[in-house]
């Protein structure tokens, strides 16, 4: 759709962030090379420009980091909660102060729009540290007994879709409860975690309490399997989650998993269409659809299908895809070449299976990894695009006639992470929300997060909850 007025470019300056040509591993308060000297490059997915070279942790480095965390655990867990709280409050404040810098860095390394890092990721990151800071000296009131104890060393493996936010979800509750951590960021987005090491330095956090080990899947596997790790927390794919569950079987390691999803966004015939369209767009195109709780299956009541799809297509035509650092950009780059290939493959499979593919007219930049927002109609429950998690800006549209059918279709998945309900009728919201097998249900809204609210899945979307009082349990001996 041609528009009468074009937007002038409104790029955020990248001069605020100073990226060094190379980074080490962060172990025991120091940056250090990998024992075997291995490094890898991290690129900007929007331009394929090499941003930096990063040390790649191997087994020996995992040993060193776990040993550092073990040593630090003794003192850190013995600190009065009120002192640990102050460290976390400091970290929260420093994140707020450096939030512009971290937002730009996150956008460069991840490819997501600055609008999202600036307005969603970073405020939430700071909020998580603030929230859990306040728990550190109140643990005996959290409902886990009079004297809840930390577990020890937490091995944490996080994904590339929300690098800093996932770091906050993992590190804040772990430190508040008195554990020490070894965290492995994803190989495509290691930079903000390494900058977080500098935040820890500024906050004066004792050495060894937080250790950061960039690396690939084998680094994560070594960390998870390390005999001196007491707690494993993982966010990522369901397949890897299952592998981790097998690895820790028979050990005393406590495990929490935040895995994939295939969220249903259910629109009833009495829904406010304009708001629902905004919610659908937010549900699947936020962060290029690279969200575990994305509303990737639109279930629309048959009687309003045409009206809703017309509105939705009109709305999609106004989305702006391009430079993630541009403040007007709605859709940024796909995180990696590998992820782009996965999305492409699944979308081609969708077409091959007979679903109808639609995208708005959309200019794709010549460099970088991009995928236009995509709709599939004529989708049945048997189609791959209705069953597999695509983790990209691809929405499958299915229809239903009755609330019971909507619930049955929504629950027809091995996943159970999120769902959305759009209707003006309060009683219907409550009835349907009650029947959905999902850990978070958004009614007349979507993709809302808050540190006070537990988040996590049913079924194969994993177990345990992050956020809120519930999030403490994963790091306490209860």
């Amino acid at each position: 759709m041609a528009s009468a007025f074009e937007y002038a470019p409104a790029p955020e300056s990248r001069s605020i962030v100073d990226i060094a040509p190379s980074y080490g591993l962060f172990i025991d308060g120091e940056f250090t090379e990998a024992a075997d000297g291995k490094v890898f490059k991290t690129v900007s997915p929007a331009t394929e420009e090499v941003l930096s070279e990063v040390a790649q942790a191997g087994e020996a480095d995992v040993d060193r980091a776990v040993a550092a965390a073990r040593k630090a655990f003794e003192k850190w867990s013995a600190l009065p909660g009120s002192e640990r709280a102050k460290y976390l409050f400091r970290i929260a404040r420093i994140i707020q102060e450096r939030s512009r810098e971290l937002a730009v860095l996150e956008t460069l390394d991840n490819g997501k729009p600055i609008k999202e890092t600036r307005d969603a990721d970073l405020p939430l990151v700071a909020a998580h540290f603030f929230y859990y800071a306040g728990w550190a000296d109140k643990l005996e009131h959290a409902g886990f007994g009079a004297n809840p104890r930390p577990l020890g060393v937490a091995g944490q493996v996080i994904p590339w879709n929300f690098p800093l936010l996932m770091l906050a979800w993992k590190i804040a509750p772990a430190l508040a409860t008195g554990n020490t951590v070894v965290l492995k960021p994803a190989e495509t987005t290691p930079l903000t975690a390494l900058f977080f090491a500098d935040v820890c330095r500024q906050a004066g956090l004792p050495k060894g309490v937080v250790n950061i080990l960039p690396g690939y899947g084998d680094t994560g596997a070594a960390l998870v399997a390390h005999p001196d790790v007491n707690k494993v927390a993982f966010t990522g794919s369901t397949a890897v989650g299952k592998e981790i569950a097998r690895t820790v079987a028979g050990s005393r390691k406590k495990l929490t998993l935040e895995l994939g999803g295939k969220g249903a966004n259910i629109v009833f015939d009495d829904a406010p269409i304009d708001q629902a369209v905004e919610g659908i767009v937010n549900g699947i195109f936020f962060n290029q659809g690279q969200v575990c709780c994305a509303g990737s299956r639109l279930l629309v009541q048959e009687s309003i299908q045409d009206e809703l799809l017309d509105s939705l297509k009109r709305r999609l035509s106004t989305l702006r895809l391009g430079d993630p650092l541009d403040k007007n950009t709605d859709i940024g780059a796909i995180n990696s070449e590998e992820q782009l290939a996965r999305i492409t493959r699944l979308v081609e499979q969708g077409e091959a299976e007979g679903a109808e593919r639609w995208s708005p007219a959309c200019e794709i930049p010549s460099a970088g990894y991009w995928f236009a927002p995509t709709l599939f109609t004529n989708v049945t429950q048997a189609h791959t695009v209705a069953r597999d998690e695509i983790f990209g800006p691809v929405l499958s549209v299915l229809t239903f006639r009755t609330p019971d059918e909507a619930v049955a279709k929504a629950n027809n998945t091995p996943y159970g992470l999120s769902a959305g309900i759009w209707t003006e009728k309060g009683s219907r919201i409550l009835a349907v929300a009650n029947k959905l097998r999902a850990g978070v249900v958004w009614s007349n809204t979507f993709n809302k997060f808050d540190p006070t609210s537990p988040f996590g899945g049913y079924k194969e979307s994993g177990f345990g909850r992050e956020g809120g009082r519930h999030g403490l349990e994963a790091y306490l001996d209860v």
């Binding site: 079987a249 091995p414 809204t445 809302k448 808050d450 006070t452 609210s453 049913y458 079924k459 177990f463």
Partner: protein, 295 residues
């Protein structure tokens, strides 16, 4: 005085509210602590385990959908029925565990009290572990616990009745349905408990009781794609590890064997929360007086 020949009971499984024999036609000899024959208990097969899962799944909607108050009433009714059969259970527990009559009576009393304790939890657990969250935005959100689904329960091997009830009651009090594998050596109190459940108001399929070889029955349960969780209380370390690996296939919730010194100690709420999910439902709040949407 001529000795009257007593009428012995044929012990059967309890599946879907009915009392079938094992489909395999097999039984095994159950003896008391001194090796004296007590009964031939059904030796359940993999097929029995699968049938029990089907029954438990079928019962899940109704049981999890019942009000918490109603579940409490039903569970309390079970305690009433247990009390009425006190003598029978004292006898069975004494035989099973080699206890004196008075020790066995203590166990049975503690078991009935344990059941009453959990009956009272049904309509309280949601308030203790759920609630409203003070989110930073114009939203109202509420976290509530929900049952996770069908739970396979491997009853403790040593405590044939108190241990059994201590692992079963929390599972169903919270709205899950259960497939219980009774103590391998001492299954009779569990099989008799099934008779109590059948004559209480517990809907058929909410609890299913299997007797036999724990390892043989537990293996298909741990790998069953329609079982949502497993309590490994009755598994030894080697079996527990094996079952945990199998359970990873569909990411079952796993409660690992916990060291329990004394089943008589008042339990915490861990056995209930282990098989609860937390669902958080968000809703926008209206901004009174503001223009635009009112929802």
């Amino acid at each position: 005085m001529s000795d009257r020949l007593s009428v012995l009971k044929t012990y059967k499984l309890y599946v879907g509210g009915k009392f079938p024999r094992s489909e395999s036609g097999r039984v095994y000899e159950v003896t008391d602590s001194k090796g004296k024959w007590l009964a031939n208990a059904p030796l359940s097969s993999r097929k029995d385990a699968r049938d029990a899962v089907v029954a438990a799944r079928k019962a899940f909607g109704g049981w999890s959908g019942a009000t918490a108050y109603n579940r409490g009433q039903v569970l309390y009714r079970v305690a009433e029925m247990l009390e009425g059969r006190r003598t029978q259970f004292v006898h069975e527990v004494a035989d099973a565990e080699g206890l004196s009559k008075s020790k066995a009576a203590e166990q049975v009393d503690a078991t009935v009290d344990r059941w009453v304790w959990y009956a009272g939890w049904t309509d309280k657990i949601a308030q203790v572990v759920g609630g409203g969250n003070p989110v930073a935005g114009p939203f109202f959100n509420l976290s509530s616990p929900e049952p996770t689904g069908v739970v396979a329960v491997l009853a403790p091997q040593e405590s044939s009745f108190l241990g059994l009830v201590s692992v079963l009651a929390p599972v169903i009090a919270t709205g899950n349905t259960a497939v219980v594998v009774a103590s391998e050596k001492s299954p009779l109190p569990a099989l008799s408990l099934a008779e109590v459940l059948a004559t209480s108001d517990v809907p058929g399929g909410v609890v299913n009781v299997l007797s036999g070889r724990t390892a043989e029955i537990a293996t298909p349960l741990a790998s069953h794609q329609d079982v949502n969780a497993i309590d490994l209380a009755g598994a030894d370390d080697v079996l527990a590890k094996e079952l945990e690996i199998a359970a990873a296939d569909n990411l079952k919730r796993v409660l690992r064997p916990q060291p329990v010194d004394n089943w008589s100690d008042t339990p915490g709420i861990d056995r209930m929360t282990a098989f609860l999910e937390t669902k958080t439902v968000w809703h926008p709040t209206g901004s009174l007086g503001a223009s635009g949407s009112s929802y």
